[in-house]
């Protein structure tokens, strides 16, 4: 529980605001879920928080929603700050909204959705993690969660393109090209901390001969506002990405290797942004799908000498696999690139959450010990495979597993698909830089 809620005032709780939120959400769906839970307890075994913390019954999904959203409705919104702080600890500290529990409930009750609704109520009263609060201000000021200016962003892209001239001829990061097939969007973590990620993507697109562009604005596909419970800002964030794609006349929006960005752009975003049909105005494609298509269609080939010998495993990001339906693509790519693939148990849409999602990683040091504890399940799964490399197309999984590697002594290297593809792909002759060709 946080002692650092100093960005929130100790103002009296605005019950009217809470009632409005509860009322809007009091549809047949949530009302039935609240009523029909038969307290069977099957959801407990599905939740990695419960399993990792010695099966503490307080961590069963049913208990979590009953004591947060359930209580909110029972009290008809007459909540006090003490109660909200208690909810804070549960809805942000004990759930990543991974939706695994909804698959294990006999009624298919979606506990994650109820936790998200409780988050919105808490947020409305200024009760939400400080780590997310900062990012919300950045989204509003600069359109991206890390406050990077348009200038800096474009400069970083140009710099990365320059760096790659030695490896691939003619590689560029085209900014604001009109009518491209793909408008590429990234996680600000990339330009700010790992600019080589931008370079790797550019390499892959160049080798595959892709028609793509990097937008100068609306390039941040992440949506931490969605995890903070700030639905209005979440709508704005995703709309700025949609609008840019429409402005550039892009055929599709390509999402970098990020989990929740796909969930935001493809599924929750349309509703947050006001598209009542539930479909985004521009088709959304996740990198794992496009990269798979490159291999399938022979646009990228693997150098047989560079295939990975060490055992590898695949981390299913919740929002790409279970909540995105894209669990086979990553495995198929690994088939091309690695010789020894060891799947986790369980896997695909039944795989466990790594513990880093739902806003956990950006939520900062306050929540670190919790995600290290809950990550025990994932650590156990990885260890059991005997793999030396964990491949995952999600930034949060990447960070979480990197931390788990240290915490649990897993002895693994974590890699994104971009990284392993760049290391093993064949660079066609016409793209090899001049000096190398002369040497041949």
């Amino acid at each position: 529980m946080s002692k650092n809620l100093n960005y929130t005032t100790e103002q009296p709780v605005n019950v009217e605001k809470i009632r409005k939120i509860l009322d809007v959400n009091n549809g047949a769906r949530i009302r039935t879920w609240l009523n029909i839970c038969s307290r069977c307890g099957l959801c407990a075994d599905s939740c990695f928080f419960y399993l990792a913390n010695n099966k503490d019954p307080l961590l069963s999904p049913a208990y979590k929603f009953k004591t947060t959203l359930g209580e909110m409705y029972r009290k008809k919104g007459n909540l006090d700050r003490e109660f909200l702080k208690k909810c804070y600890g549960i809805v942000w500290g004990e759930c990543t909204t991974c939706k695994r529990c909804s698959m294990y409930c006999p009624f298919g009750i979606d506990i994650a959705t109820m936790i998200s609704t409780a988050r919105t109520v808490c947020w409305s009263q200024g009760v939400f993690p400080e780590g997310l609060a900062r990012t919300l201000t950045y989204y509003q000021e600069t359109g991206n969660q890390m406050g990077m200016s348009e200038e800096d962003f474009i400069e970083t892209c140009e710099w990365m393109a320059e760096e790659l001239e030695d490896e691939i001829r003619g590689v560029t990061i085209p900014i604001d090209k009109q009518g491209a097939k793909y408008m590429y969007t990234v996680n600000p973590r990339e330009p700010v901390y790992y600019p080589q990620d931008l370079g790797m993507a550019a390499q892959i697109f160049t080798v595959a001969g892709e028609d793509w562009t990097m937008p100068s604005s609306g390039w941040d596909c992440t949506n931490l506002a969605m995890f903070a419970g700030d639905r209005e800002l979440a709508g704005k964030v995703v709309r700025s990405m949609y609008d840019k794609a429409l402005e550039l006349g892009a055929e599709k929006i390509l999402i970098t290797e990020c989990g929740h960005a796909y969930r935001s752009a493809a599924f929750e975003g349309p509703y947050l942004a006001g598209y009542t049909e539930g479909k985004p105005p521009v088709q959304i494609v996740h990198s794992v799908q496009l990269f798979y298509e490159y291999f399938r269609d022979g646009r990228i080939r693997v150098d047989p000498d560079k295939r990975i010998e060490e055992p590898v495993t695949y981390q299913d990001p919740c929002n790409v696999s279970r909540n995105g339906g894209l669990w086979e693509e990553g495995r198929k790519i690994i088939d091309y690139i690695a010789k020894d693939f060891r799947d986790m148990t369980p896997n695909r849409e039944h795989n466990h959450c790594c513990g880093g999602g739902g806003g956990f990683i950006p939520m900062g040091p306050e929540f670190r010990s919790r995600r290290m504890a809950s990550g025990r399940v994932k650590a156990g799964q990885i260890k059991a495979t005997g793999a030396k490399i964990v491949i995952t197309p999600c930034h949060n999984c990447f960070d979480q597993i990197t931390d788990l590697n240290e915490e649990y002594d897993l002895g693994v290297k974590v890699a994104s698909l971009k990284e392993i593809i760049c290391e093993s792909m064949v660079i066609p002759d016409h793209l090899k830089p001049e000096q190398v060709k002369d040497q041949d």
Partner: protein, 219 residues
């Protein structure tokens, strides 16, 4: 005593069934109307195939990963439901009453089967009751109301069994049997027991969400 019996099997039964069926219809209608008002967007994603598969995999025993995790509980709970519905519907004593009153009836199972299956119901309810107490993750969720509903569900079967075997004062047993059954029927539309019908809707919904939109198997 007999007067009471007459009321219970006359207006009492009418009342109970009207509330049972009418209550369920009203609840469904209300929820449907509410969904048109506040949950309209979810109608975008209906997929009959995924809805049916989502329902189907949970109607067959051990059809979902979740039930395979707790197979004993799953089998007990499955058997409990089958007998809970099967015994009252196909009991000769009940069918005789329907026949006498309205000239309609369903197939009747031999009394020896009904007897055995009633014992199964009693046994499974006891198992479920003990499970609620024994498993910490279930106990923490359980309230008085959950225990009460379990006992209420058990009563018609227990009293019917006792009456059939004529153990204890027959008239009292019979009256308790009918009374407890009527109370149970009346409670159904207003409690979690409405899952009798709501199960199909919530399962279909998650089938649309996970299956229809994401191709993920919600089982």
């Amino acid at each position: 005593m007999y007067k009471f019996y007459e009321i219970l099997t006359g207006p009492g039964l009418w009342f109970a069934f009207i509330i049972f069926i009418g209550g369920l219809i009203l609840r469904l209608t209300y929820l449907f109307a509410l969904s048109r008002e506040k949950d309209k967007i979810f109608y975008n994603h209906m997929s009959i195939s995924w809805g049916l598969r989502s329902i189907g995999h949970w109607l067959i025993p051990l059809g979902s990963a979740s039930t395979r995790n707790q197979p004993v509980f799953a089998v007990v709970f499955y058997v409990f439901h089958i007998c809970l519905l099967g015994v009252p519907l196909f009991l000769s004593a009940h069918n005789i009453l329907w026949d006498e009153a309205f000239g309609i009836s369903l197939w009747s199972m031999p009394d020896s089967w009904a007897d055995a299956l009633t014992m199964v119901v009693i046994g499974t309810v006891v198992f479920l009751f003990i499970r609620r107490l024994a498993r910490p993750e279930v106990r923490i969720l359980t309230s008085f109301w959950d225990y009460f509903l379990l006992v209420l569900t058990l009563l018609p079967f227990l009293t019917g069994f006792l009456a059939y075997h004529q153990w204890g004062p027959y008239n009292t047993m019979l009256i308790l049997h009918i009374l407890s059954a009527e109370i149970l029927l009346i409670v159904v539309p207003f409690s979690k027991l409405a899952h009798l019908v709501l199960f199909f809707f919530t399962r279909a919904f998650i089938g649309f969400e996970m299956g229809g939109r994401r191709k993920a198997r919600a089982w």
